[in-house]
């Protein structure tokens, strides 16, 4: 252990108050300690001081040159005497404000930032009503309205540089700069191009930090700050778990602002900032229960609908047994809903046929890591793996688009010197920041991992001590990877052998290096094996159970971690307590006062074929849209059509809902209290911002009511009560309750009791399963490979602007303005060969069907490979994806299928 020298402190006087702070503290921070606020315009607490606005002047008694220093940059020293409000200081601040006002369009009544403007606030505070200067102003500039979400008025810019610094240093995009110099200095995209011509991705972080009305959200025109209240909650999009303040006027959400959450630290992506609220107030929300009569949905009362649901399910259960029923839960909804849903299925339906969409994204992670490490979740925290690391191994993950705020933090890590190695068939955005890109052929992750391990072992870079003390199964692994020389692997992956060697060295030699992976590893017929390969790698070099290391799957949906934790799984009760374990079944029987079906249930991917076979007769779908999200759509349709009874609980009329017998209106994240668990196992609060619309009810209350009507009485007053029950039943949640969750950092499970602060890093000292298990896994090719008829290898994934089925993002106009149709990425070479130009309409077919979409020609994919996003109903890629499964996690192989492409000549 290194012995830390005790922090030196200094004592100084600020406005007659004594304060002692660590050496190196700025005067600005020291003043905050004694509750003195010093005005700032350019300061951003996440970044080093900029010292450019000169608003924060304070006087140091006896200091050089009049003693004025900027509080944001000057360090506190022993014996300093500081004045933050004397005449000299106030005069200097007035001078700065006067200068700024002399080149600022003063248009407060018309300005969206009225009431939300630091220049305005300080001018009032310092008694300035206008400028005393008469000189030149910047030439009249056109307001740039070109971005769909915000406007830029250069004449209101005070050149504080917050926007450009956020864009460069935090978002890592670097779209805008403070160009030119002197009085002509101007903040703009390069060459003064319009915003929509630049490579701006509309994250809006510049808008969030702008202290004036220069950069304002278009939506901000509709409210004045003082008319609103702000509710902090968790973003409903990806699994990053960003904290966001919803801006509420009346009963309407009018905007969103980043909050200082542990995962996002005041950043948001375009979805969080601009697309997380419009759908809530969308006119096409379902507001009343609907029952299908003669093929038409007609409005019904809750009582009618619930009676019908309970009676139907009960009748099916009585006729065919509980295992003829199934439920799909919603990994976008809160933990509490998921818990009650699975409880309803297990107790009232009397089956373990309950699952959630993790099945089709990260079930391989849950299974793979549980087997090798003992727990199937991200081992470290987002902050930990992006703040102080020497290298990052990013495999099959495109965080820039799928987890944008994590993507930004990875770019920050690279700016701070981390070496990034990207293993991905596509030239994803982070390749620009990478030291090395291993552009492997799709479906070859296991081979790649074996190759990396081969190099690590042969070059003596394995952590022998770690392996000896903490793992088992090494000898078998070593023997197996011996065959995977860089040359052999290079051939399989279609990359250079040297690149494998170089990547292995970078990863193994780094002091701190996390593996970060995503669906590019899991969504394969060898997904679980791919995941295990990741834990093999990390254990081989002892990079697990330590800061800045670990195996880190990025979970896709906001609460997919939670839905799994809550036991929406045919294999696991809440908390990954196994259905196969008799003691566990007894425990839950006792707790819930009923007998439970001891048989392991079917996965969602097994339920659909079972419905086609007629084995599943009744299905309750909570907030999922399998027609759009599951592979091989026609087979999903067939399954749904074949059901005797289908209930869908939803916010909107989805494609799946159209097949329902009863539709129940659900409520959105903004209308409920509860919790989400993000990808780093962090349980965070979801807070109600507005009242639900129409007759829509609390979702868990609906499940409890259905269960009650089916003879399993259940009632909860609040989400908080449900969490208390969860804490009783899940050892890893034992210390979690709503009161503790008021802490802005939330709580990371395992959190076993009231005194447990939670677990940022797992497997420290010991793996959850005791010893870490190496699994010797030979490479197997994907199940469907290109051939003459279907010559292209297609993979699927997300894009930045949309989220899954677009139920939320598709209801934000600006998002659709940027992206409103499906597309297929094709390499230049193939496009040439096929006679296809960028933007052309094309037909894409596989053995399962064909769709029409538009070509996006470029070099993101390599030749012979193509890529499609899965967000769009027009050209729904899942009409053609392959519903073959991984044998362990039953996860579909979304990432590889063979397709043919032909131009459509209109």
């Amino acid at each position: 252990m290194d012995t830390k020298t005790p922090t030196q402190t200094v004592t100084l006087t600020i406005d007659d108050q004594n304060v002692t702070v660590p050496k190196g503290t700025t005067l600005l921070k020291a003043a905050t300690e004694v509750g003195i606020e010093i005005p700032t315009l350019c300061h951003l607490k996440e970044l080093s001081p900029d010292g450019s606005c000169r608003m924060c002047m304070v006087e140091v008694e006896g200091g050089r040159k009049g003693g004025l220093v900027t509080a944001c940059t000057a360090h506190a020293a022993d014996g300093m005497v500081i004045h933050t409000q004397n005449k000299k200081v106030r005069d200097s601040r007035r001078f700065v404000l006067d200068l700024l006002l002399s080149n600022h369009k003063i248009d407060c009544f018309n300005c969206a930032a009225n009431g939300d403007c630091k220049l305005q606030d300080y001018s009032i505070e310092y008694g300035l009503t206008g400028t005393s200067f008469h000189g030149r102003r910047q030439p009249a500039n056109k307001i740039d309205h070109s971005n769909p979400f915000f406007d830029y008025d250069p004449e209101k810019c005070i050149m504080c540089r917050r926007c450009s610094r956020v864009c460069e240093l935090r978002q890592g995009r670097d779209v805008i700069s403070i160009a030119k110099r002197g009085f002509d200095t101007k903040m703009m995209p390069s060459y003064g191009e319009a915003w929509d011509e630049s490579n701006c991705e509309s994250c809006g972080n510049c808008v969030s930090v702008c202290p004036t009305g220069a950069l304002t959200a278009k939506d901000h025109k509709n409210y004045r700050d003082w008319e609103t209240k702000k509710i902090q909650t968790t973003c409903p999009h990806c699994g990053t778990g960003c904290q966001v303040n919803l801006v509420v006027k009346g009963n309407k959400i009018v905007g969103a602002e980043p909050a200082n959450g542990p995962a996002n630290k005041n950043l948001l992506c375009v979805k969080g900032k601009f697309a997380s609220y419009k759908f809530v107030g969308s006119d096409d929300r379902l507001t009343t229960p609907l029952i299908k009569r003669d093929g038409q949905f007609v409005e019904a009362t809750w009582d009618e609908a619930l009676t019908l649901v309970a009676d139907k399910f009960t009748a099916l259960k009585q006729a065919h047994g509980g295992d003829s029923l199934a439920g799909f839960s919603c990994s976008r909804s809160i933990n509490e809903d998921n818990f009650v849903f699975e409880k309803m299925v297990r107790t009232a339906f009397e089956t373990n046929n309950v699952d959630n969409c993790a099945r089709v994204c990260h079930s391989a992670t849950v299974h793979g890591l549980a087997q090798t490490l003992g727990s199937g979740a991200m081992t470290n925290t987002i902050e930990d793996i992006t703040t102080d690391v020497d290298a990052i191994l990013l495999v099959g993950s495109n965080p820039t688009e799928a987890h944008p705020v994590i993507g930004s933090q990875i770019r920050q890590a690279v700016q701070h010197g981390a070496q990034l190695v990207v293993a991905d068939p596509r030239k994803i955005d982070l390749v620009h920041n990478a030291k090395l890109h291993l552009q492997v052929k799709g479906g070859t992750n296991v081979a790649l991992a074996n190759g990396l391990m081969n190099v690590i072992i042969n070059e003596g870079l394995a952590d022998e001590a770690f392996i000896a003390q903490r793992t088992e199964g090494y000898e078998a692994l070593k023997a197996m990877v011996a065959d995977y020389t860089p040359e052999v692997v290079a051939e399989i992956c279609e990359i250079e052998p040297e690149a494998i060697v170089q990547a292995a060295r970078i990863y193994a030699n780094a002091k701190k290096a996390p593996i970060i992976y995503c669906l590019g590893v899991t969504e394969h017929s060898t997904g679980t094996e791919g995941v295990m390969s990741m834990s093999n790698l990390a254990m081989l070099v002892g990079k697990i159970g330590k800061p800045g290391c670990g195996v880190n799957p990025l979970r896709g949906q906001n609460n997919v971690q939670g839905a799994c934790d809550m036991g929406c799984s045919p294999f696991d009760f809440p908390g990954y307590q196994k259905v196969a374990n008799q003691d566990v079944v007894h425990k839950f029987e006792k707790a819930w006062g009923t007998t439970l079906n001891p048989k392991i249930g079917l996965t969602s991917t097994q339920v659909l074929p079972a419905a086609i076979r007629g084995d599943i007769k009744g299905l309750y779908i909570f907030g999922e849209d399998p027609i759009v999200t599951d592979p091989d759509t026609s087979h999903v349709r067939k399954a749904l059509e074949n059901l005797d009874f289908l209930v869908v609980q939803e916010l909107f009329m989805t494609e799946t809902a159209a097949y329902a017998d009863v539709i129940l209106p659900g409520i959105s994240f903004a209308e409920k209290d509860g919790t989400f668990t993000n990808t780093e196992r962090r349980v965070q609060r979801v807070r109600k911002a507005v009242e639900p619309r129409g007759l829509a009810r609390e979702d868990f209350a609906v499940f409890a009511e259905v269960a009650t009507r089916m003879g399993q009485p259940m009632a909860y007053d609040s989400a908080s009560d449900i969490m208390d029950e969860i804490a009783q039943l899940l050892p890893t949640f034992g210390g979690i309750n709503f009161k503790r969750l008021e802490n802005p950092n939330g709580l990371q499970w395992p959190c076993r009791d009231q005194d447990d602060p939670g677990t940022p890093i797992m497997h420290v000292g010991e793996f959850s399963r005791g010893k870490g298990l190496f699994m010797a896994i030979p490479y197997k090719p994907a199940k469907e490979l290109p051939d003459d008829a279907y010559p292209y290898m297609m993979s699927t994934g997300r894009m930045l602007y949309h989220y899954n089925t677009r139920a939320m993002t598709g209801r934000t106009e600006g998002i659709n303005q940027i992206s409103d149709h499906s597309y297929i990425e094709i390499n230049y070479e193939d496009a040439n060969h096929l006679g296809i130009k960028d933007g052309d309409k094309v037909k894409v077919s596989s053995r399962r069907g064909s769709i029409e979409t538009y070509a996006a020609v470029g070099d993101r994919v390599m030749a012979d490979s193509v890529f499609m996003t899965f967000h769009f109903p027009d050209g729904n890629v899942n009409e053609i994806t392959n519903a073959v499964f991984d044998d362990i996690a039953i996860i579909p192989e979304y990432k590889v299928c063979a397709v043919a492409i032909e131009p459509i000549n209109s």
Binding site: E168, D174, V175, I176, S177, I178, A179, K180, S190, E193
Partner: protein, 162 residues
């Protein structure tokens, strides 16, 4: 800068090992090598890609440093020092002289695209004022007659290196 083939641009960048420390050298060389005397957005992007920087940073540099231009320039840009040592040593005579000879205002290009003149701060030739500087060459101790002769010579292509 469409005038400069991309291979030549890349050759200039590689001459400096595509090193960000040499960004200014690279940009000035690129600018001087092109007939229209400026760095266009496409070239900025090219430099950015080779130097592992963003176009935004390259643009910021171009817009910041006075020698670098983001707009097409005349064939010959005559720079006149207007810092006080020169300003009070005949600078104004040179600018009014050029206005008379070329019949354009400061910062305007002559109709034939050949000439443009503008003031710049001290270039360290204070002892030779009044002068004009074209690229790296100083034409010192000018009189109106010398200025006229210089323009004639430039039109005649007497200074091929410029």
């Amino acid at each position: 800068m469409a005038t400069l083939p991309v291979e030549e641009k890349i050759a200039i960048i590689n001459h400096y090992d595509a090193n960000p420390e040499q960004a200014l050298n690279i940009l000035v060389d690129l600018q001087f090598a092109s007939a229209d005397g400026y760095i266009d957005q496409e070239t900025a992007q090219l430099v950015a890609d080779y130097l592992g920087m963003t176009e935004t940073r390259i643009y910021e540099i171009i817009s910041f440093y006075a020698i670098l231009k983001e707009q097409p320039q005349a064939r010959y840009v005559l720079k006149i020092c207007n810092s006080s040592p020169c300003h009070f040593s005949g600078e104004r005579a040179v600018s009014t002289g050029l206005k008379q000879i070329l019949d354009v205002n400061e910062n305007e290009t002559t109709a034939d695209g050949m000439f443009m003149y503008h003031g710049i701060p001290c270039v360290g030739a204070c002892a030779q004022a009044p002068f004009v500087k074209i690229k790296e060459r100083v034409f010192a101790n000018l009189t109106f007659e010398k200025l006229e002769a210089l323009i004639v010579d430039l039109r005649a292509g007497r200074y091929p290196e410029l």
